[in-house]
Amino acid sequence: MVKQKTFEWSLERGDLLPLLMMLPTLLVILFVMVFPLVYGLLLSFFTIGFGGSLSPDSFVGLDNYLQFFTDPVAMKATLNTVLFSFGAIAGDFVLGTFVSLGLLKLRRSASVLIRPIVTMPLLVSPVVVGLIWRYIYDPKGILYYFLGKIGLGISNFPGVTAASTSLLSTIIAHWWQVTPFVIIVLTAGLLSIPEEYYEASKIDGAGPFRTFFQITLPQLLNVYVVIMLVSGVDTIKIFDLIFALTGGGPNNSSISLSIYAYSQAFEQSNLSYSIAISILTMLLTFCIFGIPFIKHNLSKGNR
């Protein structure tokens, strides 16, 4: 309501400048995102191949969506995507919290020196990360050399070669890449906690653990929520890393929704089904992270 009023107000005065400034961005978003979304939604109710056109004969209603819920691979992909998201975020948070607490204990000059190393994985393409870890997980590779040193072998942790550990292997590679993001943001959050809080808890005789749980954690709660929303969305979309590391295998054990939709479209040519999968992926993202995201932003706006 308010939105329209403001625009009317500026348009009434013949003031097109705000709109003109926004127009290019809106056009790009309209062309690349909004229009394909609507078109995709439409296509998902038909059966259609590449280059085919819509005709009443190919209308199948909700069949593509119903197929999803009876397709064991689709169910596996959904479960994997949620597990991946959960495992990736949990690991990033735990590791990231410890490391940023450690960084805080260092002198400022030392942590500035370390920062370029910490940020490095963030700059590497996920497809390269997948490749790097594929090499590390190679049965004759460096990981098993070191595991051999402590008496473990491929039978203890089969890595990407077995269905039981392939998803975990992709999650570990994801930890390698995304924990630095958590560290950077948490470090900024930690530095913004007023020093007096810590002094007060010291006077109260609180140990390091109590200080952490009673002061640090509650103060950082908001930062954690934002990190979870930002990186959580990316984990549901996961494609490149798994594509390069396991390709979804062995035997679909590490397949994600994006990987499955991609292979349905470009390997099996089940275009409409693939679009239905990807739309359900979007709904899943929205249910898990979109609703909290909107709530979070609304509460921000009201403040």
């Binding site: 705000p18 995102m33 229009f35 090499y135 590390i136 979309k237 990807s278 979007m282």
Partner: protein, 280 residues
């Protein structure tokens, strides 16, 4: 007595944290080191465990990559696509942010928040219809296809980032320039843009990073003439047996330039990421 026990505990905790820190740095650096060093190793030497720290570097993997596997062209394509995307995004994003500012209410901020919802849309969801659309318009295989698409992925965040920075500019500054007869376009180019420099720097490194590294859209929207590096690598990965020499060299060529740029733009990389998360 109680006091000393407490400080011993504190020291132990501190040592534990430092050990963790060192392990973390090793865990971060070793994978990158392995790949970069392997790209200079003979293929047979890569299988030697533990890897030798000192070895005679060879360049044959790079020669194969650049002269037989078209990686020089992929490199050029990646550069064209990511530099154009970055320029385009920042231009459009800052214009849109100024447009939102001109709406003269909190509505601007709210629209930029709505734009952020674009991040919720998985790439795969728009890829297939977009591919069909671009195919029909004969855009697949042009540079324009990935540039437009990658710009669209970054625009919500960049617009949002710029909106935040513009909101911090004191209104008096803008009004006084207006009183002195500066047009609103003049205010944008002479006052806003110079003040946006830190935001622009953050946007440069973040957009550059994401467009240089993007794979999914590039896989389908480009062809042999316009493949970026990531697609070049993805084509190796699909093979049954991976040639680790060539792969390591390809990975190195892809990651080293962006790591170097990121190194020099550290400050802005970090501030861009924390702005995205802490300001929320």
């Amino acid at each position: 007595m109680k006091h000393t026990r407490c400080s011993v505990k504190r020291n132990l905790l501190m040592i534990a944290l430092l050990v963790l820190l060192v392990l973390f740095l090793l865990w971060t650096i070793i994978p990158i080191y392995i790949v970069v060093s392997n790209s200079f190793r003979k293929t047979i030497e890569m299988k030697v465990m533990p890897p030798k720290l000192i070895f005679e570097p060879i360049f044959s993997h790079y020669q194969k990559l650049l002269f037989f596997d078209r990686f020089a062209i992929y490199f050029r394509n990646s550069a064209i696509i990511s530099i154009s995307t970055t320029t385009f995004t920042i231009l459009l994003g800052s214009m849109a942010a100024y447009g939102l500012k001109l709406c003269k209410s909190s509505i601007g901020r709210r629209i930029s928040n709505v734009l952020l919802l674009g991040k919720m849309v998985p790439s795969i969801t728009i890829l297939i219809p977009l591919f069909m659309l671009m195919n029909r318009m004969h855009l697949t295989g042009t540079y324009l296809a990935p540039i437009l698409t990658l710009s669209c992925l970054s625009l919500p965040f960049v617009t949002w980032l710029m909106t935040g920075f513009i909101a911090d500019i004191p209104n008096e500054l803008i009004e006084s320039a207006g009183l002195e007869g500066c047009s609103r376009i003049g205010i944008f180019s002479r006052i806003i843009i110079p003040l946006l420099k830190p935001a622009i720097a953050s946007a440069i490194i973040l957009v550059m990073q994401s467009s240089w590294n993007e794979l999914l859209f590039s896989l389908q929207l480009t062809n042999l003439k316009t493949y970026p590096l990531t697609v070049g690598i993805a084509r190796y990965v699909g093979a049954v047996s991976v040639d680790w020499g060539k792969c390591s060299a390809a990975a190195t060529i892809t990651m080293v330039p962006i790591i170097i740029i990121g190194f020099f733009m550290q400050k802005y990389l970090v501030s861009g990421m924390t702005a995205g998360a802490v300001k929320g």
